[in-house]
Symmetry: C2
Subunit: 780 residues, 2 copies
């Protein structure tokens, strides 16, 4: 845990340069716009600890799988989003000295990520070995308006000298992934072009053949006025630059504007990426930095208007939730249905930018409540389009007749992960994909999605569950052998309660969905039956039989669900009994010891109760929470959020707050000692869940919004907005009252603390917590 | 399965050159002498399919572990015996044509491994592209008399031409392991020397720093007389040779004698390996090829006198058992207690020449019955010397207080394997090491071994078991969670019957051994207690409590032991139900499917019944055999032998014979399609078990030899020799009678078919099987 970044409601601030933490800061201060992104690297050369990282959504490489001992069924490759050409680079040379913060003294250093307006700025004074002092101010952003472009303003002011300064803005395509299995290069050069103040390089990924043109255009100002300059084009292997030498006087500010674009064959014809990049860059250069920045601020203001959550009285908590919302918005906009949410977004290389069950289980609710319905629909459609591959994947593992197993990790629908206990056994992911369909339909009321796409996916997943269980003669029940639940600290267990529950639930929900679709669009249903050979009666009878006769391990004594069949054979003890210095367990204990222990990496039974909370009474939740939570080490970033939500539901505010901070400030405080690899983007959705579903007590039941706000004691207030079926509501809760603002044109019915409340169109209602009675109602 | 090698009682014969099978033949025709060995490669250049392989016992390299996803506790390296300098090479050039069986026509090819006399010979006529025909006869051996040396006689006869032939005998140290994790080179060159007809190269292994000098000396004969020749020394990187050009006339035989030595720093000072190699080579060259060969034949005759097993009436079975005995003798002589028995011996690189539980569980009985007692004692001492490392290994996994976990795979006592389900969980290996101590003491009566070494190992292993179990509140018994039994087609199971049985047995036997040692040598016992902090009362009480209260899964219904607790939740079906074309399962089914299935890779419950057969009545054996055998796919080479022994015990001769052939001819017929990687040396001990313990019905109970011979119906007779406590007995069984020859100076008491029989010193007894009565007694 590190706490060198300043607490601030809207900014992430590094004051004084923390060399040793630089890779952490780079992760935290990453910029992105859903289409491209980059780590918070320096523009000028830096010889210290750094991971130069630029990433382009959807541009990936199938890196040959690294395996110790091959198991039949392992995939041949692991697809990863590639580190792409560095477009921010501007090398600075002052009379034979290179500006490099590693080798000079640094004064007045400040690096700030402005989350409100969506840019990164940095200022410092460098004291070179020669004694020269130079002031640098840099500002840059990835535009969310022109989402294939970025812009940099980089200013130099000699403080105690006049000199010729050589400036070399460049694009470097000679990058390697730090995360590469066999240390291979993933990019080939196709073409490069240089011109006056501009340069373009076209690279192609090996194997996948994506073309990407990265281009730049340079403008220079001195004393606030645009100047002409001599520019020497530089062309080296996978590298293009313009070199210019400028006379810079003491106290005079020289400003370099660097406009850059990244155009890929995902969106353009391969042959035209360079010419399109030229056009694009002309357009944005024409707009100019200041105009682009104004548009950027405006666009971010619009986003915040919909998404912002305010917490008064607790800056650390406020910063945490805003950071989470900011990064989620930077990572995924929902505009392109081919994309998804990589666990590290554009902040690092680990986990390869691929898609995990995180999307469905943790991220979807955020997009449902804060973005246009088409965004979550696109997330669902992403899996629909991978259905064929999921069926192939199941076939490879011996399943048949249209059964689908969605991959644990994927880029294009094919499985990428190769640990048998996860790849083949952590199959609950399939259930999360089914659950997301239910969650979406429940939230949006868009039952047509079922007819169009959802049911086909549900049937394929149900077919998988039907084949994956087997009848146990011994138990006279169906059993599911050899699985890994969400708690990856148990592997290859039998009858994981969560997985069995999800499976039974999927089978039932599929049956329901069949009914709904038949009623909604019989013709479409018949067409589907024909196409996928759905034998309704037989498959539904089987599904019901399994759902009704599957084994759920249960402890009669404690009246808790058992995480897996043999859980009670373990030595049960609380986390507090683990000797000091032995945590995190995954860094101190051998794998078998972890597996044999009762300690839980992340919510497992509790994840199921969280998903299906309506199906369990509070006493059941409480008993299971009290049984499992003390044994949970939360060594997954996806664990504390679920516990925070459930603790809120149980009215355990302290526990809920503790768990909230752990998820909200995970990266800001480098809680798990791994932020240098990148931020935990998908778990940021968990932060949002902890606030909105947890402290806000927001949920949907039937067609109704339910709210049970319950802030931590140290918060003055919590306010958040939610979209629900065309309505936009803002809920603000203090320790004493709750007000609900309805921005929409029609009345909203909510259930607040269990009581019905109508908030009229365009008006606000305030309710006293103690009495539950409205105290104010105001037309807006 | 391939059947291109001729059936013969003493020879392995390849007639006509089988290019595509060459790597299989090379494995089968490997030569070795316990100190060094090599595959059946060609001397002359060969550009076809070949794995050039030369191996020196004990000279290994710690190859960096290859891992897909790292688990805490994995070892850093996998130690492997290295492919070493090629010393057999003799390149032949005939007027610009290279002799290469890949590029010329081959006539009258014959490659023969003579198991009786311990050499490999080869003859053929090569028809070169130019039309020249040349006859080649080659013979070579690894001397078991001078066990750091080998010798080759290589003769050329031009059949239809006179020509200058260039001959280049060489030593090539530029070899790479085919089995290398990161494609690295493992050898560095230290020195090379060349002289008239001789050359030496000294190489050093990277990291481990073993020095090996490989040297050669050449002599040439024409028309049966030694000739002088011009020799041009060749020195290239890691390569030394002598090149000589000889005038060869049509019909004239030119013979090259190549003497070679491999001296390693395992046995010599690093600085003197070259000078010692010079001396060594002078000595053997002085002896000469013919003399060396006579000594070789004599030494092999001596070995066969002790070890041979004859089977009359079934050449395939005869060849199989001789091949097994031959290869076991080539692999391990027991003379050097630093060495052990690699699963591939000197026949290939796979499994790295390391030590597995195969040694204790399968090989020890062979050496107990056929070799001097010191050989098996050395095998035990090998593990004793690794005890400290085994304790460290257990510590790494969280065990304490002197608990030892022997590694799954090792070269120097450190664990090399990295699959969590095996490395950390296949812990029954620890039991096999305890069992071997019991087996040795029972066989030899050498209880002093317990006092000297055995008890210390037993206590350390028992400490491991005591810590590895935990008390299950649910069961009110001890349980052992998360293990992999001998059947590696189940992983991470709870309460594997075999492992629990072995653990309980070890705890009891350790208690007994404590008693024995206290009685035998109280002083030594006290010294041991002090040294290893053995708290006798406490540890023994705990051991007894665990042994008495450990859970053994059992099916009351079928009255069989359950392989693991959840076995009956599986869908049970016989192997015959597996659809055609889906075997072997490990090549057709994904790993999870294998794990969920009931199919068994190798004996598991049955392995336990085999080890402790006195503790189970025949009905119990029969029920368990009938339950498990039909579900067993025998996809481990260590499986059929145990089933053969047990089937013999049950009087199921057909099943016993089927299983025998599967183990005895595994490599000769390339049963598993993998002999090209090397032969299955440790499973060859299983062949011996199937014959001697199975068909011979040989076992030891108390101080007595028990015999229940029961040959397969198609055998005329079976004869084998056993050593037992100073006695040497030969048992010959036909379908009607059994005769026992006692070669020793004192009478031998045996229990034959349940009846006591005294075979007087130096005499023979023959018993009619039908009556069980002696029919002949003859003083020898």
């Amino acid at each position: 845990m590190k706490q060198y970044l300043k607490h601030d409601p809207w900014l992430i601030v590094e004051e004084d340069f923390n060399r040793n933490y630089n890779e952490i800061t780079e992760s935290v201060m990453s910029l992105g716009n859903g289409r491209m992104g980059q780590r918070g690297n320096f523009e000028e050369n830096f010889s210290g600890k750094t991971l130069q990282g630029n990433y382009i959504a959807g541009v990936y490489y199938p890196d040959k799988t690294r395996v110790g001992w091959w198991k039949n069924g392992y995939p041949e490759y692991f697809a990863k989003v590639l580190n792409a050409a560095n477009w921010i680079g501007i090398n600075i040379n002052i009379e034979y000295e290179t500006l490099d913060l590693q080798t000079c003294e640094v004064r007045d250093f400040r690096r700030v990520l402005n989350m409100q307006e969506g840019y990164l700025e940095r200022s410092f004074v460098a004291l070179l070995k020669s004694g020269k002092e130079i002031q640098v101010n840099a500002k840059r952003f990835c535009s969310i308006v022109d989402d294939e472009a970025g812009a940099i303003r980089y200013s130099l002011t000699p403080l105690n000298f006049d000199a010729k300064i050589t400036i070399e803005p460049y694009i470097d395509g000679g990058i390697r992934n730090r995360d590469s299995n066999y240390d291979e290069t993933f990019w080939d050069e196709v073409r490069k072009e240089t011109g006056y103040g501009e340069a373009f390089i076209e690279l192609r990924t090996r194997k996948t053949g994506f073309h990407v043109c990265t281009g730049m255009c340079i403008e220079i100002e001195q004393d606030g006025a645009r100047i002409d300059f001599q520019s020497q084009p530089i062309r080296q292997e996978k590298y293009v630059a313009n070199r210019m030498t400028l006379e810079c006087l003491q106290g005079q500010e020289t400003t370099i504007y660097k406009y850059a674009v990244n155009l890929s064959s995902l969106n353009y014809d391969s042959d035209s990426v360079v010419s399109e990049a030229r056009k694009y860059i002309q357009r944005i250069t024409g707009k100019g930095f200041e105009r682009m920045l104004i548009e950027q601020k405006q666009a971010w203001a619009d986003k915040w208007k919909m998404n912002d959550i305010t917490i008064e009285g607790d800056v650390a908590a406020q910063q945490g939730i805003r950071f989470s919302i900011f990064q989620l918005n930077q990572t995924y906009t929902g505009e392109d249905e081919r994309l998804n949410i990589g666990p590290k977004g554009f902040t690092g290389e680990k986990y390869g930018g691929s898609t995990y069950w995180d999307t469905e289980a943790y991220c979807l609710p955020f997009y449902l409540a804060t973005a246009d319905q088409k965004v979550s629909r696109n997330l669902l459609r992403y899996r629909y389009k991978h259905l064929e591959k999921a069926i192939e994947n199941a076939q490879k593992l011996g399943f048949k007749a249209g059964a689908a197993l969605y991959p644990m990790v994927t880029m294009n629908g094919e499985e990428c992960h190769n640990e048998w206990e996860i790849t083949f056994e952590e199959i609950h992911r399939n259930g999360a994909i089914a659950y997301a369909i239910y969650d979406y339909v429940r939230y949006t009321g868009d039952v047509h999605y079922l007819a169009e796409y959802g049911l086909e996916v549900l049937i394929a997943i149900s077919r998988f569950w039907s084949q994956r269980v087997n009848w146990s003669e011994a138990k006279q029940q169906y059993v599911m052998l050899g699985v890994t639940g969400p708690n990856e600290y148990e592997n290859n267990v039998n009858n994981n309660w969560y997985t069995n529950y999800l499976a039974a639930w999927t089978l039932r929900y599929t049956t329901e969905a069949v009914g709904m679709v038949k009623e909604l669009d019989a013709e479409k249903f018949n067409e589907l039956c024909d196409r996928i050979h759905f034998r309704e009666e037989k498959e539904i009878t089987t599904a019901r039989h399994i759902a009704d006769h599957i084994h759920f391990p249960y402890d009669e004594n404690r009246q808790v669900f058992l995480q897996q069949e043999s859980f009670l054979d373990k030595e049960l003890m609380p986390v507090s009994d683990i000797p000091k210095g032995q945590r995190p367990l995954n860094q101190h204990w051998s794998w078998d010891r972890i597996l044999r222990s009762c300690f839980i990496k992340q919510a497992d039974v509790l994840q199921g109760i969280y998903f299906f909370e309506d199906e369990f009474d509070p006493e059941t939740l409480q008993r299971n929470f009290d049984f499992y939570e003390p044994m949970t080490v939360h060594e997954s970033s996806l664990s504390p959020c679920v516990h925070s939500v459930l603790a809120s539901r149980l009215g355990r505010k302290e526990k809920a707050y503790e768990m909230y901070l752990r998820t909200a400030r995970l990266d800001l405080d480098d809680y798990n000692n791994d932020t240098e690899d990148g931020c935990h983007i998908t778990s940021m959705a968990g932060t949002w869940l902890a606030v909105v579903k947890g402290f806000g007590g927001f949920r949907i039941k039937g067609d109704q919004v339910i709210l049970d706000p319950n802030c931590p004691d140290n918060w003055e207030s919590l306010a958040f907005k939610i979209r629900f079926r065309g309505a936009l509501l803002e809920i603000k809760a203090t320790q004493t009252e709750v007000s609900i603002q309805n921005f929409s044109e029609k009345n909203a019915e909510v259930l607040l603390y269990g009581k019905s409340l109508t908030v009229s169109a365009k008006s606000q209602q305030t309710v006293k917590r103690a009495t539950g009675l409205p105290i104010k109602s105001r037309k807006k």
